[in-house]
Symmetry: C2
Subunit: 218 residues, 2 copies
């Protein structure tokens, strides 16, 4: 028999129990490091699991920023400089990436604190993570308030992309398993993945078929 | 050497190539079936991969609705009835779930078209998917326009949850791997997962440790 939890049960849960449960419910999530720089030149790195695809043309991506009831370094830096980087996690940097969530003093760079190495492109005034395989840089476009709970949807426009060899397919699909990208569940559980199926465009009058994943030649 | 893609390259890409690439970039995504009912009593089922956790107290979840330039059955039904269900995918229903994306006539229920079975709770006037292991029902709260590209952030408040035995942990964490939930990359690639690590709350002055995943006794 499935377990049934009613809303009144949720409202009465111990705070951390509820946070773990509700954060797990939406399903597996993307998990990325956001790199930013503040006006003093300190490089900030923070882990986020609330990314969402907004659109492909123009290429827009968003993430949910928690309420501004305490200082939020990443968000403040994005407003100040207008740019941020997004860096996928992989197995080798999972612990260091999780550690960026610790509360360091604002003058301490998470790069120094965790040992991750910053990398700079010519275009984006924010640090990439050298050890991340799949990275892209965004220009800040808009922060949309969510009055229901004081969060914000922060949206950026993709300006450049760095991909590892072998993960870009002939039709634009990225093989994230080959790139070693991780996924997260809840606040703290990291997972590797294994592809079951890539399915053709669904049509009402035709059966589905498998789409091959063919790496683009160099 | 990593592949570098500049914004001008993205803007000049063939449309489907760009769609595949940008949809893959954010990382692995949750993938869920949304169940709704229209004013004629027809039950609709549609696959979405744009869910995002908004907050735990109150328990809020959102998804990105594509522009309303064509009729959007799921969104229209949510506005009409005020409710929707979210149902995790698993391996056994992966093909049927993907097939719900086909363009069926509005009077055709995706349940009938795909063979998935509707299930109703006493509380939510929208169908759950019987074959899904992990399901929850939401009350519509707000649709926030995203003027940059005409999409909407649709937010619901969780009213009830159905979980399979063995996936709820003593601290509220859900073991989605044990529940058989899938994750998706891009538009069409489905993955199983394997947990690497569950890491303790990060502190500036203490090393990380592994958190055990202990199922709650029945």
């Amino acid at each position: 028999m499935p377990i049934n939890i009613q809303r009144a049960d949720i409202d009465q849960m111990e705070r951390f129990f509820r946070t773990n449960l509700i954060n797990s419910l939406s399903g597996f999530k993307s998990v990325n490091l956001i790199g930013t720089t503040d006006s003093n030149g300190t490089h900030n790195l923070a882990i986020f699991s609330s990314f969402v695809h907004i659109g492909a043309n123009p290429p827009l991506m968003g993430f949910i920023q928690r309420p501004l009831s305490v200082p939020r370094d990443t968000y403040n830096n994005i407003l100040q400089t207008g740019y941020f980087t997004v860096n996928h996690l992989n197995k080798e940097i999972c612990h260091q990436s999780h550690q960026t969530a610790a509360r360091y003093p604002v003058e301490t760079s998470e790069f120094e604190a965790t040992g991750l190495q910053p990398f700079f492109s010519e275009k984006i005034p924010a640090p990439y993570v050298t050890e991340s395989h799949l990275r892209f840089g965004l220009r800040f476009r808009e922060a949309i308030p969510i009055p229901l709970n004081g969060t914000l949807l922060v949206i950026g426009e993709i300006e450049e992309v760095f991909l590892p060899d072998g993960c870009l397919s002939t039709d634009g699909f990225l093989d994230l398993e080959a790139a070693g990208s991780l996924t997260v569940s809840g606040l703290d559980a990291y997972y590797e993945t294994s592809r079951l199926s890539r399915l053709s465009y669904a049509k009402a009058d035709a059966p589905l078929s498998e789409i091959p994943v063919t790496p683009l030649a160099k």
